[in-house]
């Protein structure tokens, strides 16, 4: 049974990863990262059930809290740069290079 959840988790993780690589809008990139984190949560909970201990579920809660904090920080940064540049595209921000 666990395998199904793991496959789903891996799929979600991959989708999230690819989303980061192909999408330009910073908000969407960020959402893709969140998707990766949540795929981890799924894996944690599935393993937790498989091993019969609560560590994984506990971890999932912590990850949610951290993700929430990350949203706060991330949105703040993205909004600031959007207000400056009038653009949320991550490709526009490339003054720093080489």
């Amino acid at each position: 049974m666990t395998t199904h959840y793991l496959v789903l988790s891996a799929l979600l993780f991959t989708i999230g990863g690819i989303g980061v690589l192909v999408r330009r809008n910073a908000i969407v990139v960020f959402m893709s990262v969140e998707l990766m984190l949540n795929s981890c949560n799924l894996a944690f909970v599935a393993f937790s059930r498989m091993h019969g201990n609560l560590d994984g579920q506990l971890m999932a809660f912590f990850v949610m809290v951290v993700a929430a904090a990350e949203v706060v920080v991330g949105l703040a940064i993205i909004v600031t740069i959007f207000r400056t540049r009038r653009s949320a595209s991550v490709d526009d921000a490339n003054l720093l290079k080489y």
């Binding site: 980061v20 690589l21 990139v29 991550v90 921000a93 490339n94 290079k97 080489y98």
Partner: protein, 638 residues
């Protein structure tokens, strides 16, 4: 009697804080150098105070040492663990014994007098503060040299005095001649220092330590060959520092420095460091008769060499410099003779020489000060009435150096001549001939400077120097008069030094002034004075030097010492340099430049990968993660 054992001293008292001797002038130098112009106003006073304080500590230590039983007068004071690196463990400490304290008294005593003298001498120099900081640095380094209880400490002091000497010779570095002279002194000294360094390496390789005590206790265990090698290497170091043949060429040029420097460093103290090194290493030299023989030969050759140069120089300071070489030659000769008699004669002459030669230099400085910094003796003459104090003190120093009884030099030089005659008639003859030459050139100097008619440059208004200059000269003159009798009569100094170098054997019968060598010497000295009188006293001295015979020309040109150096070392060195440069340009640089260009080009291309797009960075992370995972899987399955 064999030397006393070095014992560990852990008590307090003045001996426990004898490191202050070094620390005080070092602190003075640091304050003056770091403080910069802010300390200009009182810098010279601080310099004098630090030197004086160091002298006071030295005197108190000396008194404390006298209060101990003679067998208990060699004390090792541990300070700190300096270099704990594997098998090389240098523990820094001070060795307070009769030998080192004698030097400490000379250095701080004469040093303080010269500090005081310099206040007046350098009063017109805007960089007087810097001068005093270097002087303090010198005193500290010289004290470290003589007080350290191991060869590494000695070496640090050795290099420290070399640095101070370099800085002070080139003190007026706006004069190209001074800058060149400083560089010359530095480079020639390096040759000697390499010898000393390799000697110390050899000692460490042989004995596994660099401390005096463990080395000297185990000298018997080493092979004669190694000891001879070490002795010769140490001698090379000594020869460089003390301006002996063949590394003598720098000392004459070193007179470009301010005169107090010439007096302190290039006459009284630093140049005698070689004698200290040989005396301190006496257990090594006693185990290497060949090295001792070389020391005596170097000494005898240099004492004649320096004296001949001194006979022809018209520059008063260079004349004195030649004389210094010659007198240190006497000390080397005595130190090379070995045994208690030889070492005591060397050190005693070193101490009296410190007084009379410093006094003569200060006198010369006083004359120059009065004569608008003129150094050509052909431009002097008739100064004895105008500068009575300078004349008087100079005369006392003169009588001391040429060895007129009962002045200081007579006692100490006569001891050396006696010892040399007993060793071998050639050495004795050289020493006696040297004494006659000394009498000649010193008399010449006195006649040309203080007697005869005035040959001054127009617009010269000589005057007696101020009290802070004449004071030190008077004190040094007192030393020149009584120092020798005090040290030699009743074998006082020999008894004092006995814990360090042992007492003489039964064949020694004390100081014997009326033996044949002494009488011959005295007669020849009088002859030297007489010849000088007929040549320079009776006849007028021409203002422009006559062409002179070949011998005179050779002596004026330092007996072709520089020409020899150029032909033997400079030209082949330049040739070698050109070959190396050619090879370096064509071969090594070609390779390196090509490599650098390749790396630079790679860098220029590779940095384009850093595109500035966050998504491409994410791609790196992603690809990296895939690679790492894949590689780990691969390794796992292998």
């Amino acid at each position: 009697m064999s030397p006393a054992e070095i014992t560990q001293y852990s008590g307090g008292g003045v001996i426990g804080v004898s490191w202050l001797m070094i620390a005080l002038p070092l602190a003075g130098a640091a304050i003056l150098l770091l403080g910069g112009r802010r300390t200009d106003r009182w810098g010279h006073l601080l310099g004098v105070a630090m030197s004086l304080a160091s002298f006071v500590v030295a005197v108190l230590t000396f008194v404390a040492l006298l209060g101990r039983d003679p067998a208990q007068r060699r004390l090792d004071i541990a300070l700190f663990d300096f270099i704990p690196a594997g098998s090389l463990d240098v523990k820094m400490g001070l060795l307070i014994d009769p030998l080192s304290i004698s030097f400490a008294l000379l250095i701080t005593g004469v040093g303080t007098l010269i500090h005081i003298y310099s206040i007046g001498y350098m009063s017109h120099d805007s960089d007087r503060r810097r001068f005093f900081s270097y002087l303090n640095l010198f005193v500290a380094a010289m004290l470290l040299l003589v007080l350290a209880d191991n060869y590494v400490g000695l070496y640090i002091g050795w290099e420290g005095v070399g640095l101070a000497s370099y800085l002070l010779i080139g003190f007026w570095q706006f004069k190209p001649s001074a800058a060149v002279a400083a560089k010359k002194a530095f480079i020639i000294n390096r040759v000697g220092d390499v010898g000393l360094a390799i000697g110390i390496f050899t000692l460490f390789a042989t004995f596994g330590t660099v401390g005096f005590k463990p080395i000297f206790e185990n000298v018997g265990g080493a092979s004669a060959g190694v000891m001879t090698a070490v002795g010769l290497l140490l001698l090379l170091g000594a020869v460089g520092k003390s301006a002996q043949l063949p590394l003598q060429a720098w000392l004459l040029d070193a007179m470009e420095g301010p005169t107090p420097v010439s007096a302190l460093i290039h006459a009284a103290t630093m140049v005698t460091a070689g004698v200290y090194l040989i005396t301190r290493s006496s257990p090594i030299f006693e185990a290497a008769p060949t090295a001792q023989l070389v020391v005596t030969i170097v000494g005898a050759a240099t004492l004649l060499f320096g004296a001949i140069i001194g006979c022809a120089k018209d520059d008063i300071k260079k004349g004195l410099a030649g004389s210094t070489m010659s007198q240190i030659g006497y000390m080397f000769l005595a130190a090379g003779l070995g045994g208690a008699v030889g070492y005591v004669a060397a050190i005693a002459h070193l101490l009296t020489h410190g007084f009379f030669k410093a006094g003569l230099f200060l006198g010369a400085g006083s004359v120059m000060h009065a004569m608008n910094d003129e150094v050509d003796m052909r431009r002097y003459g008739g100064l004895r009435k105008i500068m009575p104090i300078t004349f008087g003190t100079f005369m006392l120093g003169y009588l001391a150096i040429i060895g007129i009884p009962p002045f200081a030099g007579w006692f100490t030089k006569d001891s050396i001549i006696e010892a040399a005659v007993q060793k071998h008639w050639i050495l004795g003859a050289a020493a006696i001939l040297g004494a006659a030459l000394t009498a000649f050139y010193m008399s010449r100097m006195v006649f040309m400077t203080f007697f005869g008619e005035k040959r001054w440059e127009p617009d010269t208004h000589p005057h007696e120097s101020p009290a802070n200059m004449t004071g030190p000269m008077i004190l040094l003159a007192i030393g020149s008069v009584f120092g020798g009798a005090f040290l030699v009569l009743g074998d006082r100094f020999m008894t004092f030094l006995a814990p360090v170098i042992g007492a003489p054997g039964p064949e020694y019968h004390g100081f014997q002034p009326l033996a044949p060598p002494g009488i011959i010497t005295f007669v020849l000295v009088l002859a030297g004075i007489g010849i000088a009188w007929t040549m320079y006293g009776k006849r007028p001295v021409p203002v422009v030097a006559p062409r002179g015979s070949f011998a005179t020309v050779a002596a004026r040109r330092d007996l072709f010492g520089d020409a020899l150096n150029e032909a033997l070392f400079m030209r082949p060195g330049q040739w070698l340099t050109r070959v190396s440069v050619w090879f370096d340009n064509r071969g090594v640089d070609g390779l390196v430049n090509g490599l650098a260009a390749t790396i630079g080009g790679t860098s220029g291309r590779l940095r384009r990968v850093q595109t500035g797009f966050a998504r491409s960075y994410a791609m790196f992370v992603f690809v990296g993660a895939v690679l790492v995972t894949g590689a780990l899987l691969l390794v796992g399955t292998l």
